[in-house]
Symmetry: C2
Subunit: 332 residues, 2 copies
């Protein structure tokens, strides 16, 4: 089965997925805003900036005109940063974003609206079927065929199974799921905990503290997720704790690294500057703090993170308060 797939965005993850989907026998077009970059990738078959170790298959087409890129495709795969998804979709003509399958691989919550990507897509396209792909998947490893397992979620079971067939390969195992909200929230909210794990490392705490933070962190995320309509079990899955594990323990995670600098005493502005890229965990902490209040959910770790980020609270004192608060049962 050969599908016409257009990938919106050519960062590391977009490039790794383009290679995978092309190897699996699909017609793959990658849209990149920048014409020079399109030409360079097309000629060199190397994404020097984002995924230099991967040879890009010859038959992948790079296009900088977004309407040309998407006009004939059945499937649009979104791999841009979350904050620009709406703007990118707005550039596509109505007729080219109707009756398609839209798969989102971007993890975040839109600042201001607090929308998930599924909500943005619902607002900006017409009669499209939405799916989200997520899980512990460094592009650098997928790009060199290292074993990886992910989740594809859609409320349309047939579409989820079709996408499972399209993505699955000997090194890329795909599970289906019907909980779109849970998969989207897990992917976005994990960055808060990764930032916190970095702070814990930066201040000099050990593996016990980090494991407790990850574990109690996913409990809080689950609590908020359930209130927002997600299934409790999704957060124990690949897109929940699975992705959280990779993000909190990897030295490549910019959220963890920004946290590390904050733990070492840098301000959040200095930390972001030093990391040199968007640190989603910071804006997501503010979003979760707001959502927790709105939904009346107890999120002590998010509150503590907010206190550190917004009020420059002392990290060790904040941890002390967390450790000594009311004695609890181990429950949601």
């Amino acid at each position: 089965m050969k599908s016409q797939i257009t990938i919106l965005g050519g960062g590391s993850w977009g490039t790794a997925l383009a290679k995978l989907l092309s190897e699996n026998g699909n017609d793959v077009t990658v849209w990149l805003r920048d014409e020079n970059q399109c030409r360079e990738l097309s000629e060199t078959r190397i994404n020097k900036k984002y995924l230099p170790e991967v040879k890009i298959p010859q038959d992948i087409v790079f296009v900088s005109d977004i309407n040309k890129a998407v006009e004939n495709s059945q499937i649009l795969l979104i791999v841009t940063p979350t904050q620009i998804v709406r703007g990118v979709l707005k550039q596509i003509k109505e007729e080219y974003k109707t009756n398609k399958i839209i798969v989102n691989a971007s993890k975040g919550i839109e600042v201001g609206t607090l929308n998930r990507v599924s909500e943005i897509v619902a607002q900006e396209t017409k009669n499209c079927t939405y799916a989200v792909i997520s899980g512990p998947s460094h592009a650098e490893e997928v790009g060199i065929n290292m074993p990886t397992a992910v989740t594809v979620a859609s409320s349309d079971r047939e579409v989820a199974e079709m996408l499972q067939d399209i993505f699955m390969s000997s090194y890329f195992r795909v599970y289906t799921n019907d909980d779109v909200i849970g998969v989207e929230l897990g992917g976005a909210l994990k960055n808060i905990i990764a930032l916190g794990a970095g702070i814990s490392d930066g201040v000099g705490y050990g593996d016990n503290a980090k494991a407790a933070l990850m574990n109690r962190g996913i409990v809080e995320i689950t609590r908020l997720g359930i209130a927002l309509g997600a299934d409790i079990h999704t957060f124990s899955g690949l897109s929940g704790i699975g992705d959280l594990i990779v993000t909190c323990t990897s030295l490549h995670s910019r959220n963890r690294n920004a946290g590390y600098l904050i733990g070492q005493g840098y301000s959040k502005e200095e930390a972001v500057k030093k990391v040199g890229m968007v640190v989603e965990g910071i804006s997501t902490t503010y979003a979760a703090y707001e959502l927790a209040r709105k939904m009346n959910i107890d999120m002590p770790i998010v509150d503590a993170m907010y206190d550190v980020l917004e009020n420059n609270a002392d990290v060790k004192e904040t941890v002390n308060k967390l450790m000594l608060r009311d004695k609890k049962e181990e429950k949601l």
Copy 2:
């Protein structure tokens, strides 16, 4: 509230817990089989072999006569290896193992009987109330007051809450739980996945593979646990995925390290010899393989591990088979 507590076993975890409980104001006696070691610890206040960086409080008493050690205590804390728990309890006079609280901190399943420690205790003592303490807790970190969070489970809620009061401190946060079976199984079965994580690292796979293994591993453990009477949510807790995270990612875990050597091509016998200590994950893999068959539970990762350990199956081929087996929903 001051309790009379006897700790059976003076390895690293026994020593760290002795210090914690003494600091919390309890009368603590530690039983060690070896008289010379008792004298040495008593005089030097350093456990040179197992926890050299920790100063042992002056008022902890070391005793080598087990009946003297336990006669006046209200609480017995078991911190010996699982395989010798039964033998140790058999040495205690009936009258000294009646009507006490027994807290188990040992993680494993008895070879041969497939008993959990709660079952051993029920068989070898009389009218005792049982609790188990577990979670991500390297002794080396607890010993130097690094933040740590654990679970205490008992079917007797009042006892669980009393133990929460006794153990909790500014660096040691304790949650209560009523699922003894789940907490015991999580602690024991995680060693299988730690062994597998080591194999994955040893053979050269990356973070994605390890996160997938940990995540799908806990799914299998949960499946088996439910069949054996545990609560599904316990495996998402500190004693489940929390402990699994620490064990799979720490370079100090001997299960992970033995797996690493197997992944590098050593036989399991050579790996155990090189690690120089008991590698519980190997016997636990065999126990889980047996239990999965007995309870008719699908455990593909345990089967694969068994195949590698028992039949010297090639690791890469085994992973390939795991990746390409039937397409699945992400469900229990």
